[in-house]
Symmetry: C2
Subunit: 536 residues, 2 copies
Amino acid sequence: MQLIHHTLSANFIGQEATIGNGDVFYAHAPAHNETLPNEFANVTTEQASLAVARATAAFGPYSSVTPQQRADFLEAIAQEIENLGDALIERAVLESGLPTGRITGERGRTTGQLRLFARLLREGSWVDARINPAPAGVPGPDRQPLPRPDLRRMLVPLGPVVVFGASNFPLAFSVAGGDTASALAAGCPVVCKAHPAHPGTSSLVGSAIIKAAQKTGIPDGVFSLLHADNDVAQGLVADPAIKAVGFTGSRRGGLALLRVAQQRTEPIPVFAEMSAVNPVVILPGAIAGDATTVAAGLAASVTLGVGQFCTNPGLIFLMQSPQTDVFLDTLAEKIRISAPATMLSTGIKRAYQDGIQHIQVMPGIHILAEADADAADNRTEGRPTILTTTAPQFLSNSELSHEIFGPSSLVVICRTEAELADCINSLEGQLTATLYATTHELAQSETNWIALLQEKAGRLLFGGLPTGVEVSEAMMHGGPFPATTDSRSTSVGTGAILRWVRPVSYQSFPDSLLPPALQDANPLGIWRNIDGEMTR
Amino acid sequence: MQLIHHTLSANFIGQEATIGNGDVFYAHAPAHNETLPNEFANVTTEQASLAVARATAAFGPYSSVTPQQRADFLEAIAQEIENLGDALIERAVLESGLPTGRITGERGRTTGQLRLFARLLREGSWVDARINPAPAGVPGPDRQPLPRPDLRRMLVPLGPVVVFGASNFPLAFSVAGGDTASALAAGCPVVCKAHPAHPGTSSLVGSAIIKAAQKTGIPDGVFSLLHADNDVAQGLVADPAIKAVGFTGSRRGGLALLRVAQQRTEPIPVFAEMSAVNPVVILPGAIAGDATTVAAGLAASVTLGVGQFCTNPGLIFLMQSPQTDVFLDTLAEKIRISAPATMLSTGIKRAYQDGIQHIQVMPGIHILAEADADAADNRTEGRPTILTTTAPQFLSNSELSHEIFGPSSLVVICRTEAELADCINSLEGQLTATLYATTHELAQSETNWIALLQEKAGRLLFGGLPTGVEVSEAMMHGGPFPATTDSRSTSVGTGAILRWVRPVSYQSFPDSLLPPALQDANPLGIWRNIDGEMTR
């Protein structure tokens, strides 16, 4: 029991399970609104620095681990997470208030993600090898004064990185989530800062990673898990040995880390996914035949997971049409019969309720529907709510375009395409933008709606619901600010590995001293660009 | 004559040749140390904003230009630069003090670079298309609750960008240099700020770009060329419509732009290539048979272009060996017989001379050799100089590792491998690191010299000279800070196009509404990643 208790609340400074020397805190169970008994202790700045020092020492050895060994490591992490069995599921449900089915699904997403990166490593072409061989024989006359050198380039890891666990995905965007999986795949040691909303879940997953490292011979220091307060966490970002930062959370939290990073002597990339309202644009043709299916689908997307997905559709732009009332009536009905449900924390519930109350009293804002069951007196349940307004009101009040994290959406009724275009142009950057339209009306319109939406978002949906985020090669989960601080990267899918790498060129190297990915014989059998041609 | 004179000194706000409403200034001819007669006038903040507004308006139209049209545009720029003929060469020689042969070669590099990007566009695979098709038939049981969507991803341009011309490459890193070529290839409108050291050259090249745009039907506003003071230039970086910045120049200049960018609400990438000393590491085996060839090569590299290449080898770490004296004697002899030559400006000459004088009086620093001809009284000539010191002295004085821009190098004699490793570990990030060694001694050494150098640089050379920078697929011209502010990108070679793009995913789109690169039939015939497999 001592061991289990220890694992549940440990920090891991490298492979060493450690009690923090900082403040003691407790986890909270939002569904029961009660504090849980296990004691957690934050690390101090000194302990955090020790984790960074171990990560730094591990970088060289981890860089020389083969891709196959790194793949074994990632697969072992997936296996060890599964080996935690119901204890992990129960703890995550307890700490997050999310239902068992959702957490079980999220575990599958997490292990699937780890195994996807393992496959990417075994396939190997992700290193983007490019080779310009030295020409045999004499150089052409245009190569005065110097002959063309042998030049070979591939991606190499940046160095130790810091990953922050997210509150809304205790597994898939936390300790062994996408940032950790992609960084470890890239060859970067990870110092992970646990989210305080699910510390036990974090320690359990941390223990799984440590076990996997030990079983697959991964150097000590490649992974650390720390419970830490904001000062210590910001100290991690400021540490000169840290070369990149991954974060998913609030706009305030992400910007605070960005500011810390900007005060460093050496600039480093900060990948903070922060805030999005994920606009949905509905042109008349798309609902001319059937407005109810679209409305019911959006109601389900707004309330899915109590509106706590980063791709939750918070703004719906509806072109006025004969179907407007049918659409709104259906949306309203579906919301009324939806049930309030437990949100991730009392703080998040309070912020959600305050956000709705703040908006609903503004001029021109109407409540279209709320869930029939009132959740005002419950400290953690969020009540689904749909508000409406007009385009001119929306355009005159920039607060209406800000995210309210939770199960609500604002429907903006637009009378003209010009109003709709103005609304879209007024938006900040987004993770997703969804367009309901017929190809016929797009061809007729004077506005290029796809181009307009593309400027604002990382993922465009033609119909459908933004709340499902596929983990695959083609996923882009990111977008222009403030959706993320760096629109050039994704936090989901195989592309996430590109966050943590930089290109290096090797000039005139003997074949035997080149990394295998760049050797003449192509021993890894990967796809490579040779003088502009892809070959394997 | 009015027209020619006008072209030589114009700003181009979009395609409109415009006289600046700001301060008047004149170009300087460093070789003759004289001010040239033509009058230039900086733009005001209002005029700069107009250029940004035109770039912003042009972004949509330019995004919908086909890759073939963009390729035509780049090739037309190359042609129009060649059409400028001797007038361009003469002006660039006059303003830079660089010899005609060097400028002619640089023109070839510039046009070659433009044509390389045109080929990249015509081939088309650079957009990194990734496709996860929706599976035919029912989804597998693991795809509850949602079937897998059709998801397709490619790279799209960021938006309007600002490019700063460099002083040391009036053509290849300036108005139509690598940053402009790669940004225009990516689909980003460019607002270019001319370097004041070669304003006439800049206006001439700007006029060539404008002509090429007009001939190939490229929208007005896709390119602007501005003469501007620092305040106006920084205003460009701060403009909310600008989405990225490219810069090559001094550390102070690059960091100033970075700070401006960091004060923006929306963070944007700043690609500033700034400062490098490009260490050369010589292990005994590499010169055991022939120290004179290596020494003579390095002497030539140090003095090439009066030491004004960003890859100039400013630090040589030499392991003490029986060949040390032969190496140093040869190096000294080659430097003594080298000739002082005109530097880019009186300011650069002064900074070079001050830098040498500052260092040479420091404890433990010796002058190994200077060019016999004294250049102290000449206002623009730089005198080649080699200094020596010991590893302990080097390690105790961080100033010795800073760049002195010009034809000098500091040789650091190391008695042990541990001393050498300490010296390398003490370095900041570099564009290049060169290793002279035998494979035998690398295998014998306890230190992984390649790994050690790789942490410090973007390009590793096994022997050879760092001063040649190939323009090709495999070139990485960049590196850890302060070599650049973003080690994940290159400013030379086809990889430079990745500076200016972000991924976008298209989910469940009808084939006809997808960009051609992502359509089922692969009409562009490009390489694409489909469910992890490369296909064409």
